[in-house]
């Protein structure tokens, strides 16, 4: 009897032990450029009975998230260690190590690069700037106030425009001649994005001449372009404005010993010889001393302007305070102005929670103090339209610039709008397209942001929108923030047509906004 009791106890212990087999979760806050690496991490984690999840954010968002919510994550993996240093206020990040590196470069359609004389030699930022000023070159780049690749290139531009001083001070950023130079340069941007990987995908959709991105993503893009039989990009490494992303992976110490052990194993695995070799095959620079030994030529292809033997000699990044000020100035002064149309759903089904969310969201963008916390401020040259709608268009309001009283007034109108009736999501978007045609689109980065919860059930339809978009002949993306039961099919269709994207407004509204605004 006693023995059987003990056996039962042992059995219970054994079965308790088997409960542990349920995989533990491990959440990594990561830059989007690490997307292709997820499967490598996943494979390793499965063997260790851990379920690794990636949350992809722009590097600046990673910094903001570390400042506020470090306890939500187990590890952080931004494109560059600078964002860990700036974000890790509580000093929770340990064991940060660079897994690989990749320089931020200009990729220009090869024939255009040849025509502009930017091949086979050292190129300075000034030469690229000249081509942009002469309107011979337009490019797409991620938002400097969101993504590391955009921020790196932007800082490279600042150095070059300031005449390559040894270091940049806060006073330098106030110089009027800098403002002129940098706004000219950024005016050459025809589309923007909050993430580097998305920017690469956008480029592959066609119609663009050049982009600023990581060498690794340029290689990915070129491999795809070659497969499609299209002209590859030629990579230009500006000698006086080069920044290298060092892809540091750090552990966030929230006191879980098992996670810490797993992290160290994962990091060691990623730094092991076979994986480092695999990463190099994927266009990431690995190894030590900045040397690419035995780099595969089909990846680091000399025909694309890549020279693995050349020493990459980057600029020095400015002090932390100067970097942050530069990002704020980018957002409020230097970037190409935004022309933004907010189409807000006030149909009956939005009553209550969802309409409150929309109002709160608009407050976050329009109240400049709140927006400033997330680098979401408007600039004096921005133009903002708000089009509330239900079954028909309710009204249309316009604000030019970023003056607080006008923003507050606009916000008041939004708050006072009540919900009622059916839903037509197409009419407001078509109106926005028509309005955008009346503005000189070369001076703005346009975007339409539709916030809705419902299925369109009255008024105009998708075919009407398609006709309007095609007639417009402008690259105006529609970004869709969905609440509640919004029809995924309808929204996805619009996103596809316009090179836009769909975001979930209920999960993380600030995040959705940061992403959407990254695109204009």
């Amino acid at each position: 009897m006693r023995v059987s009791g003990l056996l039962a106890a042992i059995f219970i212990l054994l079965s308790l032990n088997s409960c542990k087999k349920h995989p533990r979760e491990f959440l990594i806050l990561s830059g989007s450029e690490n997307g292709p690496l997820e499967k490598i991490v996943d494979e390793f984690a499965r063997k260790n009975n851990v379920l690794v999840k990636f949350k992809y954010e722009g590097s600046v968002d990673i910094m903001l998230e570390l400042q506020k919510n470090a306890s939500k994550y187990d590890a952080v993996w931004p494109a560059s260690g600078i964002w860990i240093t700036l974000g890790d206020r509580e000093r929770k990040v340990k064991y940060a190590q660079s897994i690989m590196t990749s320089p931020v470069v200009f990729g220009i359609r090869k024939s255009l690069a040849l025509q502009l004389g930017l091949t086979g030699k050292d190129v300075k930022v000034g030469e690229i700037l000249k081509a942009i000023r002469e309107k011979k070159l337009r490019f797409i780049m991620t938002s400097a106030s969101q993504s590391n690749s955009g921020a790196s290139a932007y800082i490279g531009f600042l150095y070059a425009l300031l005449g390559n001083p040894e270091y940049i001070t806060e006073a330098d950023l106030e110089k009027p001649e800098l403002k002129k130079g940098i706004t000219d340069l950024l005016a050459g941007i025809n589309r923007s994005s909050g993430s580097s990987a998305w920017l690469k995908d956008l480029f592959l959709k066609g119609g663009y001449d050049a982009m600023v991105n990581y060498e690794s993503l340029m290689i990915e893009a070129n491999q795809e372009l070659t497969r499609q039989g299209k002209e590859p990009l030629y990579l230009v490494y500006p000698v006086d404005g080069l920044v290298i992303a060092d892809s540091q992976l750090g552990y966030i110490d929230n006191g879980d010993v098992k996670k810490e052990v797993f992290f160290k194993e994962l990091q060691a695995y990623l730094l092991s010889e076979p994986i480092q070799h695999q990463l190099m095959q994927m266009g990431r620079r690995t190894g030590f001393a900045g040397e690419l030994k035995n780099a595969p030529v089909e990846v680091f292809n000399p025909d694309w302007g890549i020279d693995p033997q050349k020493i990459l000699s980057p600029i020095k990044l400015p002090r932390a305070e100067v970097v942050l000020k530069a990002l704020n100035l980018y957002q409020t002064m230097f970037r190409k102005p935004s022309l933004t149309f907010f189409c807000l759903d006030f149909s009956g089904s939005m009553t209550g929670g969802n309409s409150d969310l929309v109002k709160k969201a608009m407050e976050l963008l329009l109240d400049q103090d709140k927006a400033g916390k997330y680098f979401l401020q408007s600039s004096p040259a921005d133009i903002t339209f708000v089009i509330p709608f239900a079954g028909t268009i309710i009204d249309a309001w316009q604000v030019e610039g970023n003056k607080q009283p006008e923003m507050v007034d606009l916000l008041k109108k939004i708050r006072e709008t009540t919900t009622d009736g059916t839903t037509d999501i197409y009419s407001p978007v078509i109106l926005a397209l028509e309005q955008s045609a009346m503005v000189d689109s070369t001076k703005f980065i346009p975007a339409i942001i539709l916030m809705t919860d419902g299925e369109s059930n009255t008024g105009k339809n998708y075919a009407d929108l398609e006709t309007a978009w095609k007639n417009n002949r402008r690259d105006v993306p529609v970004f869709l923030i969905k609440f509640g039961d919004a029809s995924d099919a309808q929204l996805a269709q619009i996103a596809r047509l316009t090179n836009g994207a769909v975001f979930d407004g209920r999960k993380d509204l600030v995040g959705a906004f940061r992403k959407v605004k990254g695109y204009n």
Partner: protein, 358 residues
Amino acid sequence: MRGILIGLGILLLAAAIGFGYWYYRNEKPEIHIRGIIGSEKSSFLENDRVKTILKKKYGIVVDYVRAGSIEMVNEEAKTGTDFLWPSSQVALEIFKLKQGDKIVRSENIFNSPIVIYSWDIVVDALLKTGIVKKEMSTYYIIDMPGLLKMIREGKKWSDIGLTQLYGKITVTTTDPTRSNSGIMFAGLVAIVLKGGDVVVEADLPQVLPEVKEFFARQGFMQSTSGVLFEQFLKTGVGQYPLMGGYESQSIEFSRMHPDFWPKVKNQIKTLYPVPTVWSEHPMIILNKKATLLIDALKDEEIQKIAWEEHGFRTGLMGVQNDPKILQVDGIPASVTKIVPMPRASVMVNIIEALADAK
């Protein structure tokens, strides 16, 4: 019947494991000593051989958290903290000034000189300028004022023949307002500006502007020496032609990455400034029960591991460190041209001025 036998077997096994565990736990009376250490010593304390000696021979288990050297001495010492182990004498002195009554005992355990890490092509160029000189197999920066002058005058790498490197000559260090190696370097720069002599309060108006300028030129600075050294190795000569650090770093790295080290050891050079300063590692005991730790760390075998595997020179008088045992070339048996760091009150002034300059 068979089931009962298996059951009994499991039972016996469980009893054996239980007894083994009990026996193991009671092998030696054990004391846990808790403290705060500078991060550069964590690999040493994690070394299994060190842990075993501490436990088997001295019955000590060390629990620690990491913090910056200055940070740990500025904070009000908590009752549960048995010791502090910063990486400079300056930190000890600051602690003495502020919370000196809490010290039970303090003693220096290790030393490591501040060095400048560099690459073969850069060292070749510096040899030609006469700033660096090779004696035996060791490289010395015999003209530190000359190096600082080049930096002050904004000379470019291309001016000394390194056309493949972009920008102006600088030495990259960690942020002296956050990290000890940066502080040590700030002290060293001040000393060189004073003509290689001890820096006192009265010298500050003369040396401070250039010390500030030296760090301003670096732009963004890393906050820990470990991350900086790792980046130095990873990104190479293009990003970090010259980098300030501890001598111990390359020695420890060579032991921890034996497969990789041979591939780069001929490119990486360790330069010894003349004069240089010691980064000392004083153990500050705050609780009487922890004094045993000082004796344990002075154990001959532990000191040997500290040198051979982690690059810490002994803090003990009369003990020599043999560089022949190391995988790193150019490490001298002893470093003799040392100037004492400025006093704590002077360093506090320098650190505050650098923080204000931000």
